[in-house]
Symmetry: none
Subunit: 242 residues, 2 copies
């Protein structure tokens, strides 16, 4: 496994917080207490505390102690998401990301366009590595959300991608899509989206993004149709984009 130890400690501390039924605002045991409890140095506990602090679960105050800042419940990023099928996910992305793209067309800056351009070139270059191509794909879509300059829209898009990446079924399919001959169209789609954004065309960007995800759905459908595992029951009403 070879996980970094501080993560293990952090997880143990989470469990301790749960067992002790600590409420928001309550004081946690000190670093030294946890160190002795787990039989490790205070350094490691401290690192685990930093992890939990970055995750916004606790707050650390010098000379005073550490305090629970949020509930454990608010930590978990949506539990039942793994039950969401690829088609349902793609439909949600279609609805939301096309709207975000339309908004981005209004507020996008030259710098944003430049970054999108660079990412697009990376996508073309990195098609040998599925890993990197996926990362560039994600980057492209999130940059568009960022171009709206609206925190909540960025947050929404990010959440969608986090869910996608944590969905095992999607990962399985993604590799095959990227291997398929569709990769060329994938890039063409992105080029089209970028072009509409450059033109600052609201409806153009909306439609280009919609069509892109429509194409992904089609590819996914044909792959799962011919080849594949069981994706029945994931098909939804297909909106006709007006």
């Amino acid at each position: 496994m070879a996980e970094r130890l501080y993560r293990e400690i952090g997880q143990k501390i989470r469990l301790e917080i749960e067992k002790s039924a600590l409420k928001v605002g309550d004081k946690l045991p000190t670093e030294r207490v946890y160190a002795e409890l787990f039989g490790v140095s205070r350094t490691l506990v401290r690192e685990a505390f930093i992890m939990l602090e970055i995750e916004d679960l606790i707050e650390v105050r010098k000379g005073s102690g550490s305090y629970l800042k949020n509930t454990l419940a608010s930590q978990v990023s949506l539990p039942e998401i793994s039950d969401v099928g690829p088609f349902e996910m793609l439909q949600a992305r279609q609805v939301l990301e096309s709207a975000i793209a339309a908004q981005a067309a209004i507020s996008i800056t030259k710098a944003d366009i430049q970054q999108l351009q660079e990412t697009l070139e990376l996508e073309g270059a990195e098609l040998n590595s599925v890993e990197k191509a996926n990362s560039a794909d994600r980057e492209f879509h999130l940059l568009i959300a960022k171009a709206t300059q609206n925190t909540l829209l960025v947050d929404t898009a990010t959440r969608l991608w986090e869910m996608r990446d944590s969905n095992p079924m999607w990962n399985q399919l993604h590799a095959r899509i990227k291997d398929s001959s569709y990769h060329g169209q994938w890039i063409d789609d992105h080029k089209d989206i970028l072009m509409q954004l450059k033109k600052r065309s609201e409806s153009g960007a909306r439609q280009a993004m919609w069509q892109h995800l429509e194409n992904v759905k089609q590819t996914l459908f044909s792959l799962s149709d011919t080849d594949a595992p069981d994706f029945d029951g994931y098909i939804f009403a297909q909106p006709n984009q007006g």
Copy 2:
């Protein structure tokens, strides 16, 4: 300020990554190098590295070094909802909920319409209680999301409303909006949305929802203009709905 030092170091490292134009996969300078560069101990640099690792920006490999895992651009500062202003929130709702409404127009059922009808009547009746009116308002919008029959869209809409309800500034304003003479138009807007959904008009529902939230923005603006606290800096580019 009294910020914890590792955060400062982490920020400096981000700047260094930017200055050095490091690409994903590139190796970072070692902890010892940064320690000397910033004139601090390796411990602090290590803590900063942990912070960046939690943020998924870098990957740390024992005995080997640390590597850039994601671009700085893809870094999303996890949203501290409390400092999202009402106008930013309304803009996000405008973009997302109008898209959701359009989708709902396609898949809505008679039962959904019936429920919306009932909720709408409740809204008219309960205008004496701000509390209940607000609850009915929320119900109306969430029912539309449910009508899409897409889990993720429901989830997205729910999240938006949770954030709205936890934003103190919004709550403060909401009461005043509900008190104002705008309440009548509020209900008319909802009636219009419901009518478009009945007609199953995708673009009609989209525009009706957009216009509704546009009206809310206008009301909010006029209230904060005449009366109120300091809402400057929350104003965004206003998309012209096509």
